[in-house]
Subunit: 117 residues, 2 copies
């Protein structure tokens, strides 16, 4: 599946507490590295490292401004995640849990096995 790699990139970038906090913080609007450091109370190199991962996953982008670097969210990966969830949403609507159906198929298959012996 072509989109699996993209999803994994997005999901693993978000699945780290500090990075998720950064994303939540950037939700309010663009911020410089220094502001993120201040907000999260983390060593600056650690923040830069996490921001690099977020950039590579396409979740944020940078805009240089003198010595500062302004980071901001990109909509695309969130929209892709949203589209992926969409396929699940459709299934809830009808019937997410098709256990009964499955168990009946299982029993039918077993009877078939028995009759073949």
């Amino acid at each position: 599946m072509w989109y699996i790699r993209i999803m994994i990139k997005t999901l693993s970038a978000l699945a780290e507490p500090n990075r998720l906090h950064i994303v939540e913080y950037l939700h309010d609007g663009p911020r410089s590295v220094g502001e993120i450091v201040e907000q999260l109370q983390l060593p600056q190199p650690q923040v830069s490292k996490h921001l690099r991962v977020l950039v590579e996953a396409g979740l944020v982008e940078v805009q240089p401004m003198a010595q500062r670097r302004i980071y901001r969210l990109r909509a695309q990966p969130f929209q892709e995640l949203d589209e992926w969830l969409e396929s699940f949403r459709r299934v809830w609507d009808e019937r997410f849990d098709r256990l009964e159906e499955y168990l009946q198929q299982l029993q039918a298959a077993q009877k078939k096995d028995e009759s073949l012996q």
Copy 2:
């Protein structure tokens, strides 16, 4: 934030290729461990291990059926993920990228600094 831990659990459970494949496969309906093993072509203990992680994240649940264990998706974590994305959706609708606004604030702050000297 109360929901951060939940989100991290969900995201890190999904952010592993084999587990994401399992979830995609279970999307079609409930399946036994053996069927998942067959589908993913992975060693059975590895599949059981991944399923355990998925159970602990609340993404799937088990239903014993003789020697077999039938796994199926649970809707809740997906819905929670959906709700989390909802807050981002709202921001895209108006203006996701408030860079101009931010830069103006930044310039205003700098002028203020200068005038204080």
